[in-house]
Symmetry: C2
């Protein structure tokens, strides 16, 4: 290689470069294993310079996480020309394909180091907050009455989605992408309509094939 | 007090006593804060004796957690005389009332120390596995075809339930117990029916009040 390893960059460019190299390292490392030394070497700078931009390894990891979250949020920006359910399906499809490119990154974000390191947990929580805000806006546009119950519901749905996505990514057990997509897309109306579905008659009337849900067991 | 502090107990009784005292301490301590010293003092034994039964504080905490989980599972045993949806509602009601008696215990189990200590995480995972197994059995009795997709769905629903319950317990925001109960009870059929609900026409036909979900936005 004749390219000079160390380039002249402004502080903002240098910081962005280090974060981008960290994000790239996620392709074959968990977030916990992205090392400051490795990134410094790739950027052709000293370890000390990295710590000039980030006061700790955790802070560096949090910046990587923020960048990934920003990419996910950009990649899943709703298309205002679509119907809400189509928007949801399109967004979830992008999301699944994005996290599916590197399942371990997503799993480590949702379940890993992030849960015990405050800076990382905050980054994950900010992303969740942004996603929940988006969905509540969508319901608002549909004339849904918002409020705490709807927010509990949407927060719960996000936990549902994370649980299903992480389990499926780690071990799909033969379930195809499109089945997961239908499950995630239909589960949002499913949980929002939960209070209606909780009435036994509703399920029995709407879905006779599962009417047994509301029937007492046969005697004996 | 004239009661002798230290009673003669068999090893099994002593172990059970220590665990019970640990469970009782959860009434005003988070699991992280249940101290071996406090429990030893209450039992009238030495700290060293506690460590004779549990090799570490974490192992003691895991035993406390297992006992709580066992109590929750017993308290929520399904009544075979009820219809499945009624069973679900009754079980969830018991669950909400149980965790509601001491919200911080439940929250610390689901989100706290348990997530970073292997023995505790395993205890929580065993409980989740038992609950998921119960629900899958219920669907099996209804003639539902089981399989990986249903298991992903039920696992996701458990995450939904934990998320909604912990948020609501920490800050109910004026939402009453019965509204949460209907949300949790209806969300299980809601997510199991998700693939059907993902079809825009289904939601539009079944719930005209939310038909907007499937409509494109007005032009302009």
């Amino acid at each position: 290689m004749t390219t000079p390893k160390r380039q002249r960059l402004s502080p903002a460019q240098r910081r962005a470069q280090l974060v981008d190299l960290g994000v790239a390292a996620l392709a074959d490392h968990s977030l916990e294993d992205v090392s400051v030394e490795h990134v410094a070497e790739q950027a052709g700078v000293t370890r000390a310079l990295v710590f000039h931009y980030f006061t700790s390894k955790q802070e560096f990891h949090a910046a990587i996480l923020d960048k990934v979250a920003q990419e996910v949020l950009e990649a899943t920006t709703p298309d205002p020309a679509l119907a809400p359910l189509d928007t949801l399906r399109a967004t979830l499809g992008t999301f699944i394909d994005y996290v599916g490119r590197n399942p371990h990154v997503y799993v480590s974000l949702v379940r890993g180091e992030s849960s015990s390191v405050p800076a990382l947990r905050q980054s994950v929580e900010r992303t969740r907050g942004a996603l929940v805000g988006r969905i509540l806006d969508l319901f608002g546009q549909l004339g849904f009455e918002g409020g705490p119950l709807l927010e509990f519901t949407v927060r719960g749905w996000l936990a549902f989605t994370e649980e299903v996505a992480t389990r499926w990514l780690l071990d799909p057990q033969g379930v195809g992408r499109d089945h997961i997509l239908e499950l995630l897309a239909g589960s949002l109306p499913g949980v929002v309509l939960a209070p209606q579905l909780a009435a036994p008659d509703t399920v029995a009337q709407l879905f006779p094939e599962v009417a047994g849900l509301a029937d007492p067991p046969p005697p004996g």
